[in-house]
Symmetry: D3
Subunit: 245 residues, 6 copies
């Protein structure tokens, strides 16, 4: 029997990706990103202060927070605010998003400002962290472009404080076959799951792979990273179109 | 000089209200409700268990949780999950929503089930609690209709376990004039602010009024409740149209 | 059969109310207030600092905290300090007390000071929040009079920074009849319960009504507010006598 | 110059001690105890359950909780419920009270019940923990006598499940002189402070001494314990009178 | 100038690794592992219960907790127990350790038992998580061998419930050169840092790489994973020697 | 039958005590202290800041934190960091350690510095708090000697800011016989348990005795304190040897 994915997609096929700017109106950047049924609202908020460890250094900060609405998923989860703490998965994801986006910003040009990327999952069908990074990048660019346009930050020689683009996608081994952009049905049942964050120059920013079933081999790693490279290239193109739109 | 509201509305005019069912797909009821720029996602989740104090009594429970995305507002607020507790305002609002919706459900017919209404504010421009109640009612009806349709609950003589409708609106005294459905600009600058929850029979379920500036008089109370009655009647009609749609 | 209240009181009759000043000796104001068996210790503490949002504005702040001793009630409740958080009911009540008393203070005359009203329930038989507001007002006046007497605050033209008086009472519909000042037995079994905070000029400061059984009608609202007006007038008289005593 | 205590008391003189039973009416035991200006409300609550570690063993449990109202003291302290945790001092004191009272109860006769002693300080002028133990003993006896009277517990051969009496007093070295029952003025300025819990047979149950200034010698320890023995004997007599009253 | 590491090691050289079994005596497995100056105490505790989600399924659970003594590092950090929560880094690391070790255990053979691996860092000089995984594996084997020896678990056909071995090492790009087993001096100053968990069959279990400075390229990834493979092979050999010792 | 202790020790015999300086290398003082199988790692950390209540007063602060690794004991305990709070026992012990060590330091000479003594129990066989105090004293001296040696603090007339020595030991009544330095087997089964902190001049700094079984008499108290005096004298001698070593 031929290999088929639950969604009928080809192994190297992304879900339908949409990047909708200006979804809400008060944030300096606001993007609703969808990777198929996964929908994440990413807002970028600019504040004129930095965390204590950066005060007086003339540099800015970029950070992220992640949350999932209690009924984003098939069954309701407890609300983290009601439980009184963020879980380990939440903290791990928001640390990943923050590191990924700091990798593309010149924090000296930003000045003593913090940009917080709030990534709130309205609906979850796998890949929420990769969708969040991909969408938050666009919100971040909007926020920084606003600072440049209002001359709040001065850009030497017209060089943007954003270095290239950052996008992310998951890859995995599903029933023995390397596949791109796992949805929830695949995620629950795969042998290996890897999240890959890359820039538009083809460099790796973050790579987090987990063998769920059996340990993966060097050649499987190579196949997965190749799929991710192609997937990120498409996502970067979609980000560009959204920013141009 | 003639009286004008910041939005240009007449004193007895609601903002544009939209009630969009099925905004997300996994919850048993999912409604995006807008009162002008205020947008609240209300989901209803059905679970086959009840809180400890109801176990074994053959009755169900209806409860609510409320949250606001950090950048729903003009400036970013701390995420309650990160701060490690829900604030007093959040707890007060979710208690109000829960009481309001319990008022229209026959909990004996519901059986030992809990319906949780999660009201998450995507964008806030005043009146989030009244929008939440109005939208959550529709999500609740969708969830209960699903239980009836699947014969999970048996309805004696075809009588729905939902008694009539519940909707809510704010009223206030703005620059001396009683007005309906305050937006944020009015809310910040009014003398009195009152939230009114009513049923479709014109009965009051909850009434919470606060004098912000000067104490209000008996006749102002009467004028505000009259405005609220008319406003709720319109909201109930919009709920009906949404449910019929 | 004639209507009777569990306590034998007439529908418009308050419980015996006592206001004992100077119950403890270190606080700037200290009042033990009783509404029948409900007893609340209200202390007013003056501190020479204000919350961060008021710093440097030359205004003062008035705030309240509420607590109930674990065995104030018929059965023991968990101690909130041991559970590690204040419940929603506590937060809701302390917000109400704080707003009510801020309504009668000229915070500019107070200067950069905070007055905290701690309302601790020693015994609870219904109406703890209304007793707390009524008693805390007297403690607040004592504390402010102390500031005036010691010339810590200067009063322009001898005008006190306290505007009139504030008192509160509950009203409800018990077995179809509007009644004043519900005790616990009535509170558990009433159709509607409303807390009314008013000033001595007959203006409403806060109004919070909840339909426990059936929704209440416009005419029931009018009957309840009329009862409350008469009840608050008596309470204001008792406050005056206590302050004169 | 002759030695004088701030209060003018003789070195071996207790403050005026009052033990008022039935201060509140719902608890199974309720005592307001005063050691001079220190006033502690001690309630005993009986519940028909035991902590998990005792379930099914046929034994009961006696435990204590301690709290101080925010303005029991000369300056206001933060409310522990608002801070979200009990401080180390509170936990230390309530552990001491619980151990002290468990020492006088036959937990097998008590059966699978928990008696919780809530000791809430209404006013603090030093010695709150010793006043709490002394008063809580009386509340405990009242609660257990109630169980015996209602035949909820069966007493073999008429023997009470309470073994003798337990009372506590502080002693210290103040300006070089051993003194009994330190008040706040002495507590702040003493060289050594010791809390002594004893039974009516002259046995020590708890002894906690702290050198505040210089280390104390063996003979000072002997002088302090002798003072404590005499003080506890007086307190036990006052407990007896209160219980007989 | 030739490339040199701060420690003088060759790029593919591990620090001195020691694995000392039986460091403490009560735990079912207790290992002090050192990777140079990094020292982690790893204990394995067996308990006859499983988390709620596994109850009644006949399977066991393997989990990990991670902590760092406040002064394990060059400057003191706050104690997480005192701050009242575990930080994101801690949660991320303990999730990694738990997943890594679950990958080598047949949880059905384990039966309804939980093995908790507590990894407490006594001294930190980089690579604490990889040392923890490497040491915890040995503690886990000791604990499981104890269960087998005492016949608490039955091993079908003499097959151990532990599949092969698991060890972990960090790799990175330091001043442009791929290096093995980074110490703190390198960790602070490297371009890329990757933690690699592998089994003794050369399969990858976890791979977590982060570009600190510039994004890494596909060929750098290959060089790093090759170094890691060689490093893990040495660690597995040291684990075997320790277990044989 | 002759009296024997579970360990075979004479009633006045300490366990084997070892004090190993420099156990870890980053802290300003680092001591692994063993009282038999009880092993506690005590580190002293110097920081150039003081708590808020001491700011600007030119004095230093000495404080302690105490923790027990989850599997220091025969059965695993929950990790306090994971439970989100330190228990009452932990807080009580760390307050005791802090007070004990503050008793031997001239905080004015220390200047605006805080020395934190972290006492982490690696293995617990009774007497962890007394071992902690005894070891922490040595770590404290090492830290202060370092400050003196580096001339960070100036010592008037060569007088050390450490006054004499402080050590601690437990004593108890085990099967009717006063014994020194109880181990876990004795601790679980003794009638009275007392922790005694003394200085090298034979003065008492802290004394905390608890009757576990029957109340202890004045002569038992005298016998126990005499044992403690002899035990502390030996511990002080071992501290001196360690510091000279």
């Amino acid at each position: 029997m031929a290999f088929t994915r639950p969604s009928g997609r080809a192994p190297d096929q992304l879900r339908e990706v949409r990047i909708q700017r200006g979804f809400t109106r008060y944030a300096e950047g606001s993007v609703l990103v969808s990777f198929g049924e996964t929908r994440v609202l990413c807002t970028a908020s600019v504040e004129n202060r930095v965390p204590a460890f950066l005060r007086g250094k003339g540099e800015g900060w970029v950070t992220a927070e992640y949350g999932m609405l209690p009924r984003a998923t098939h069954t309701r989860s407890d609300r983290e605010a009601a439980r009184g703490k963020q879980g380990g998965r939440t903290l791990e994801i928001q640390r990943l998003i923050g590191r990924s986006l700091r990798a593309c910003v010149d924090r000296k040009v930003l000045g003593e400002r913090t940009i917080t990327l709030d990534c709130d999952v309205l609906q979850a069908d796998g890949g929420t962290r990769t969708a969040a990074i991909t969408g938050a990048y666009v919100a971040l660019v909007d926020a920084i472009n606003g600072l440049v346009a209002s001359r709040a930050i001065k850009v030497p020689h017209g060089r943007s404080p954003v270095f290239g683009a950052v996008a992310a996608v998951s890859v995995g081994i599903y029933r023995g076959v390397p596949v791109l952009d796992l949805d929830y049905a695949e995620d629950c049942d795969c042998d290996t799951d890897m999240n890959v964050v890359m820039n538009d120059g083809g460099g790796f920013i973050e790579l987090q792979g987990t063998a769920e079933g059996h340990a993966f081999r060097r050649e499987e790693l190579a196949a997965m990273t190749a799929l991710a490279e192609a997937g990120v290239a498409q996502l970067v193109q979609l980000q560009r179109e959204a920013l141009a739109g």
